[in-house]
Every structure is written in structure tokens, then in C-alpha cells.
């Protein structure tokens, strides 16, 4: 059965259904991350010290997040995510220019960069676990693990979607008709909107958790 307005814009909204759908989903994601950010603000305003007491063999009073968290690794991850946002949008632009080979290259790079982000993140988490610091240790680490962990889950979801569109999902493009190509390009734009949102969340997570 033909699904209407999968590529063409609906006359009432002016956009196709996929685009309206992903933006509604992203609006709900704003509330999900926003709720956790609000909880972070709530906990931090009420705290006597932030990050507070941490165990480094003996108890040490930490007064800044960068005494606990690895800022160089997080900066590297920020650069990786920004680069992956560019490669994602370049993948979409390549399809618009009918350059499927370039699309495969840029989408492949996006996936590799996202995997790189998770590898760096695993090193970062490993440092914390070596000190026996977990989400249950104190409010600071609870906020850190919940927010960055939820973000990492979103990165993983993006990798799965992008990997599908790099591999088996390309069948749609390879059918070769103009309609199928437009449909595939539209799917990549929608996947890209999700991926840029993941980048956008990190843009706020990085300074508020690691730097202040």
C-alpha cells in the first residue's frame, strides 16, 4: 500500500510526514533531557559543595568538576561529535548531488566517528570505575553517569540507524528510480536530524557537567 506524503509535502502542514514525525519526536526528547537537566540544577542548587566529598584512597573535598572528570578526553569527544555532524550532513548533500559513492564515504565516516566517541567514553568511564566511583556514589556522579549514559545510549541508537542506511537500507537507492532515490534521501535527512540533535545535547552537557 502506498503511504501518502512520505516524500511530498502535505498541503496542510507544508512538510512531509516523516519530517513532522521526527521533529515531534525530537520535541519529546527535549523534554526528556530537559527533565534530567532540571533535576541536575535542582540537586546542584541544593548542594553544600559540588562535586563534594570524593574518595581518592582518603576523602578529598572536590570543588570543581574538572578535578574529577577528564576534560581533555571530553574535549576530544566534543570534536568527534561535531565532525560526525558535518560528515552526516555531507552524506545527505552527496545524495542531493547524486553522488552515492561520496554518500557511502561520509556515512561510513559518521559511523566510525560515533564509534570513536563511544570508545573514548568507555575510557572515561573506566577511569571512574578504577576509583570505584559509580552513579550511586554521590549526587555528582549520579548526574554525570545518568546524563552522559543516556546520551551514550542515544549515540548507540544513531549508530544502529546509520549502519542500516549505510548497508542494507541502500537497496532503496539502488532500485534507481527518481522516486526511490528521493525517498532514500529523505530518510537520510530524517536520520540526520536525529544525529544533529544528539550532537546538540552534548553541546550543553559538555560545559555544564565538565567545565563548571
Amino acid at each position: 500500500m502506498q503511504i501518502p506524503y512520505e516524500v511530498q509535502a502535505r498541503p496542510d502542514t507544508g512538510v512531509n510526514n516523516a519530517k513532522l514525525g521526527i521533529w515531534l519526536f525530537l520535541a519529546s526528547e527535549v523534554m526528556l533531557f530537559g527533565g534530567l537537566f532540571a533535576a541536575y540544577v535542582f540537586l546542584r542548587i541544593g548542594a553544600d559543595a559540588w562535586p563534594g566529598m570524593m574518595m581518592y584512597g582518603t576523602e578529598v573535598m572536590a570543588e570543581r568538576a574538572d578535578e574529577i572528570l577528564n576534560v581533555p578526553l571530553a574535549t576530544l569527544n566534543t570534536m568527534i561529535l561535531i565532525a560526525s555532524s558535518v560528515t552526516m550532513v555531507m552524506a545527505w548533500a552527496s545524495l542531493k548531488m547524486d553522488r552515492f559513492d561520496r554518500y557511502k564515504l561520509y556515512m561510513g565516516l559518521t559511523i566510525l566517528l560515533a564509534l570513536g566517541f563511544l570508545v573514548v567514553k568507555s575510557f572515561e568511564y573506566g577511569e571512574k570505575f578504577d576509583h570505584h566511583w559509580y552513579a550511586s556514589t554521590n549526587n555528582f556522579l549520579g548526574v554525570y553517569f545518568v546524563l552522559t549514559g543516556l546520551h551514550a545510549i542515544h549515540v548507540t541508537g544513531g549508530i544502529l540507524v546509520n549502519a542500516y542506511f549505510w548497508g542494507p537500507g541502500t537497496k532503496l537507492w539502488k532500485r534507481g528510480t527518481a522516486r526511490d532515490k528521493a525517498h532514500f534521501t529523505n530518510r537520510i535527512e530524517v536520520a540526520g536530524l536525529y544525529w544533529h540533535f544528539v550532537d546538540l545535547v552534548w553541546i550543553f552537557l559538555f560545559p555544564t557537567i565538565y567545565l563548571i
Partner: protein, 114 residues
């Protein structure tokens, strides 16, 4: 994003993407650099949020094409923003000192009666 883009349009967009990427990288370095100044909490927070907001706007406007998006999408985002601000106001308001609020209310009422 308009569906009917010409090849020239796309090439122009690609140049914008590269420029935005450079701006995002520079702003990231600035954010980290400022954090090493160890400013007091409030100015540090304001600077960090200001830079993050500029970066987020660049991503949303250019990578997510909000700059040329249809009105219905902007309404969806505006509604999310309104609820988000409301939620933050509730959380932060819950921390307001209740005694201060009572004193303020008495002051307003007494000046109104006088």
C-alpha cells in the same frame, strides 16, 4: 528544507557546512580555554551557556536546516521550549526561600493597603 534544490544550491550549502564546522571547533576551544581561567561560578556559568547556545543555534539553523524550515516545525519547537522553561521554573522555584517569599508578600500587601 526545500525539496527542490539545484546542484548549485547544494554546493553553496556544503561551503556553509564547512564554515559552521570551523566555527563550532573554535567555539569548543574557547569554551575549554575560558574554563581554565577558573572564574567565579556565576560568570563561568553565563559564559559557558552563552557559548553553548551559539553553538547549538549554529547546529540547529544550518545542519538541521531550521533557517529555512516551515512554520509548523518552528511551532513544534516553540511549544517544547515553553514547556521546558515552565519545567525549569518549577524546579528552581521549589528552591526559593519560603520565608523570603512570605516577607515579600507582606511588604507588597502592606504597601498596597497603605
Amino acid at each position: 528544507m526545500a525539496e527542490e534544490m539545484t546542484l548549485e544550491d547544494v554546493k553553496r550549502h556544503v561551503r556553509v557546512y564547512i564554515t559552521v564546522f570551523i566555527a563550532l571547533a573554535v567555539l569548543t576551544v574557547v569554551t575549554v580555554g575560558v574554563s581554565y581561567l577558573h572564574m567565579p561560578f556565576t560568570p563561568a556559568l553565563l559564559v559557558a551557556l552563552a557559548i553553548a547556545t551559539v553553538k547549538a543555534a549554529l547546529v540547529a539553523l544550518y545542519f538541521m536546516h531550521l533557517i529555512s524550515e516551515k512554520q509548523v516545525i518552528l511551532w513544534v519547537l516553540l511549544s517544547a521550549a515553553v514547556f521546558l522553561v515552565g519545567m525549569f521554573a518549577l524546579f528552581i522555584g521549589a528552591h526559593a526561600d519560603q520565608e523570603d517569599i512570605a516577607t515579600l508578600a507582606k511588604l507588597i500587601l502592606s504597601s498596597h493597603v497603605a
